[in-house]
Amino acid sequence: MPPAHVLVVEDDVRLRGLVREALEATGHRVTAVETGGEALELALDGGIDLVLLDLNLPDVEGIEVARRLADEEVPIVMLTARGDVASRVEGLYAGAADYVTKPFELQELLARVHVRLRERGAGEAVVEHAGLRLQADVRTLWAGDAQATLPEREAELLRLLLSHPGRVFSREDLEARLYGEDLPESNTVEVFVYQLRRRIRSLGVADPIRTVRGKGYTVL
């Protein structure tokens, strides 16, 4: 894994030190700050590959920081000690890619950070998996030399699935990610998946999308 620039936002000075050292020990460059204000300033300047964000900050709520960084396409891993599951869900909808609950083991944190950095491709233009290559910005899907142009929602759906192989996305989750607040008719996601699978097969390759019974969809 190429070294990345990680922004650590944590108000506890000792925890900040521990996380910084551990990340630096695995070869990453770390900028550590105490407040949401500093974090926003740095992250909005660019050059950050991942933000480790404490949910409970002295000045701005962590969720607010995540919300303001939502357009930056920087993966955010939340650090939380709050018992309220709801706030964490809120965090995920605000744009956080993942969360780690305090107290945590350093290895767990490092593992999550690595997964999210690897998935960084999710925010990039080209995603490749299982013999498929998707260039999301022009909505073009290649399988070898064959290519197809996808409608916008299908391209977004496939980008999500391809950039997280093995992860199960529930229908509700996909709906929330594709539509945000204004939820569509009930079986729209099924229709998209069905169309997508037909398009992939028509390119002459095996379709990697799988329906997990009662749980959602994944890509193998």
Binding site: L18, A81, D84, V85, G166, V168, R171, V212
Partner: protein, 459 residues
Amino acid sequence: MSRGSAGGGGAGPGAGASPAAAPAPTPARHLRTRLGLIVLGSLLVAVAGTVVLVDQLFGRAQRASLEDLLQRDLQRVQALVAAGTLGTDFVDQAAGGVRLQFASNAGAVLLAADAGDPIPLAATPTRAVSGERTELIGSAAWRLPSGLEIGTIRMALDVTQADVDRATLRLSLLFAGSLLALLAGALAWGLVSGALRPLTDLARQAAAVDPARPRLARYRGPDDEVAELARALNAALEAIAERQQAERDALAEVAHELAAPLTVVAGELRQLAAARPDDPRVRAARESADELLHTSQDLLTLARGELDRAPDLSVVDLAEVARGVADAYPGVAFAADGADARVFAQPDRLRQVARNLVRNAVQAAGAERVRVTVAGGREVRLRVEDDGPGMTPEALARVFDRYVSGRAGGAGVGLTVARRIVTSFDGRIEARSQPGRGATFEVTLPGWSSQVEAEPDEG
């Protein structure tokens, strides 16, 4: 405000597991049936009473008027005969259900207008049966114009039709009354059913309340006693939810205070132990700190209600996870059969399960006497065996119960958490043990391929 946001989380996608969503049991005795029957029964009794009363009153009045008629006719005949205006040929004119006979003092019928039976003597009007007819009979002295009494005038009034009329009236009353009673009973049944619907609806909602996330019951109906019950139920639920939220808030506060220092202690000791691998005191401190960290994680996982939320599933290799956990406890033996051991699970929680089982076994038996095996396939099995002191059947039966420690040094919370996590992945966990013969914990999860729908139009 905070409760509102918690409710928002509860209403989230998937809605996780709702363990207490049992259907409301149907009562053995229905109030509506009981009330319907009571109304029907009491109306039937009332009808019967009315019929008897009316029948008696009607019969008495009918008889009085008939007796009156008979007496008047007799007196008229007697007066006419005594006045000499009427000859004995009068009897021939008697008609219309009235029989008239003149009998001697000795009782022999001297003159009769019909071929019927002799009419018996009756000083007061009396009922008598003659052939197929029921008659009201009466008699009066037979006097000649000279005043000489030579016998009796006897008269019989046919009352058969009157009896039939009375019976018809009785039957009509009985029929109409019963019909009305039945109608009223059915009406009562229907009305009570309607009135009870909000009540049974409430019962169903109350039975479906998830104790982890009580939600208020919806009530649709008139503002009556049932509405009062609904209000009381909701007030109780609200109080419970408030209390739960307060406990969660307090716990979150404590967790927040403890979480950072705990993470720092465990993390720094791990770094220190890596730098000084030969120092037994550092190793002991590191192990204890890890222990503390893991136990707090288990406790907080339970207390925060995290397991009430649907897990974030990915394809995870259980063999890989178990190997990683076993490696963290030097001395623990690990083996996998090499078959596909991938399952749909949340990786960190699956690790928590494996860690809790292995830690439990190591504490009971020592690392050298613990074996971890993984068998792949359509069902993937993780087995943790130890040669420790084992458990009594009583201890075994309660080993997954919350806050019950299965054996000395064992962490009851860890096993409770393990079971809840395994269940959330649609798997199961079993424990086998005998005193003196160690213990075996086995986790069975559906293999990933069995969870994936067949592709209908592929190939």
